[in-house]
Symmetry: none
Subunit: 198 residues, 4 copies
């Protein structure tokens, strides 16, 4: 990684910590600069403004998440198994990065400008992936076809985000993954193609 690259990452790491602790509005460039051990002015060499820095976080993070997700999905057959894996990895990854999780869930996801940012674009491949898996499942005949695939995705992401948000607001107590099995079970039944005569 080039020297510039390193310093950029340094700033982003500091930003994640600060933004996730205080939220976007209550975080200051000054504090981020201090955490990153650079001068305030330096941050403006790497990012246009505060919001740009803010939305640069999920871009990097989402790319990384997506790449690792792909690895985890390697060798897994069957849409249902893939969904299971996705659910597990989603909870696992964000439990391991609670600060980022907070920034993502409580700040970015509800930001009015989110849909217009590069960040949103970086998110795309991920949501696209889910759709693909759903369609794969429909092809396999294990996922019901009478329901809009977007609605099915809403169900999956809605459940995960809801669990996560609760966990964050309650102070990150307890093990997120402990809820994994029930969540998967519930989702599976919900979206599964009912067996004939069922």
């Amino acid at each position: 990684m080039s020297k510039k690259r390193v310093k950029r990452q340094l700033i982003i790491d500091a930003a994640i910590e600060v933004f996730s602790r205080n939220g976007f509005q209550n975080s200051t460039i000054s504090e981020i600069a201090q955490k990153a051990n650079v001068a305030e002015g330096t941050i403006y060499q790497y990012f246009t403004n505060k919001e740009d820095l803010f939305f640069s976080i999920p871009i990097d993070k989402t790319k990384q998440f997506y790449k690792e997700l792909e690895l985890h999905l390697q060798g897994i057959h069957g849409a249902m198994n893939k969904i299971r894996k996705f659910v597990w990895y989603y909870l696992y990854h964000l439990q391991e990065n609670p600060e980022y999780a907070r920034a993502l869930m409580l700040e970015m996801r509800v930001n009015r400008n989110f849909a217009n940012t590069r960040a949103f674009g970086a998110y795309r491949p991920l949501t696209q992936k889910i759709l693909e898996i759903i369609e794969e499942g429909q092809g396999e005949g294990v996922i019901r076809k009478d329901i809009n695939i977007y609605m099915i995705r809403h169900l999956i992401l809605g459940l995960l985000e809801h669990i996560l948000t609760r966990w964050l607001l309650k102070g990150e107590k307890g093990d997120l993954l402990a809820q994994y099995k029930e969540a998967v079970e519930l989702l599976s039944q919900g979206i599964r193609l009912p067996e004939k005569g069922g």
Copy 2:
């Protein structure tokens, strides 16, 4: 309604509009006061500070929502029917009050202090009601008992919030209620007690 009561409501209505348009941080007391046709100082006669005003919104609104929900549930038998009604009314109500919906979904629900506010308390009866219906369904033998009732609630609320949030971020285009049937269908199958031999 007493005169004080009226003016208080006037301020809250203005606050809903302003907060929902700009978010908490970007809204100013000055603008709310103008909208409410009162002096800035007057707002502080009714509310301790900006945050207090902010969190006073869902208290009133949630109480009203809950009361009307109860009416809608009158005469409905069967947990599944009640859930169907709840889903419908939830979407209907927030579609009718998009400004409040935005304030609720994008601001309050993710506010770090939300869990410590009176507002959170006002929310209680509503979430409690859902649990009751779920348990009722388990008693009737139509909702699976092997899954934690909280997880079931996560599924329901998660889906609704996700649909709603998308709708809001996309600019409130289209008819929310159009998604009602599929949502209910998906939820129903997910939480339903699988028929024997199914």
Copy 3:
């Protein structure tokens, strides 16, 4: 005392307490009104404004102080004895009314407008009295005549105010009157007509 008179006094008493605790600027009409069990508006029926209320305090208090001082001086002969009594009574009176003492020493005495207020006028008889005693002492041949009587008064009041101010700023700990004897002794020697050949 007429009913109006009573209520007026009620307000003044509340004002003394509040002003002396918080100082002029940090005291609010609202708090005084509450303490006095009247509405804020009522205060403006009795006093022109906040400053008027403020300066009404020493007027009453000084008159009372002066009247009682006169009583204490009754039957005392000799300027030195009178000065001794004055010093004692000054410290005694303000130790007994520490709240008023604080308002007087830390607020009024240094107020830029003090010299232009009715309050200042009420103070007059008292400072005048001291001058008289000093002149009486000079007539008796016990107080030096080569020093301006105003300077002599400065010495007396300066010492008393300094002792008092220290005591107030230090939290009113200890017995003010314990310092009475030394203070008098020091003052006496300072202003006394040196004996011939001394």
Copy 4:
């Protein structure tokens, strides 16, 4: 002096002028900034808040006063001579800096927080010095030992502060130093060890 140092002093000088004219409460940061030719925000780069700026004044000034006092006392023998010099210099210095004198006498000295500020600490060496001189005088046998040295200091400072306060409240008319001789004469006799048989 470094550039930062210079600007800091610029702000303090402006603050002295403004505070002394209007008092603490009636002075605004805005006016001070204007006088100092800096932006309001700049003041907060140098001082924590308004009060911090306020109490920074006497720190600098008192140190300077003390240093110059020491120079003036050089080569002077005898406690009485030193006290004479102290009285003279005290009046001289504050007559020359009437704005600072006003801030000191009418604002700081009676501020409830004064005793808890750094400013109070800076005052220490000065009051300590007086005590030393008094003890020196007692050692020389020219100052009475039967009186608490603190009371003796009260007498000296009380007289000076009283003279000064009057002068300030009366609009700084006349020559303060004109009163110097009588003040010293009065003090000297007051604290002097009475000659035997006197």
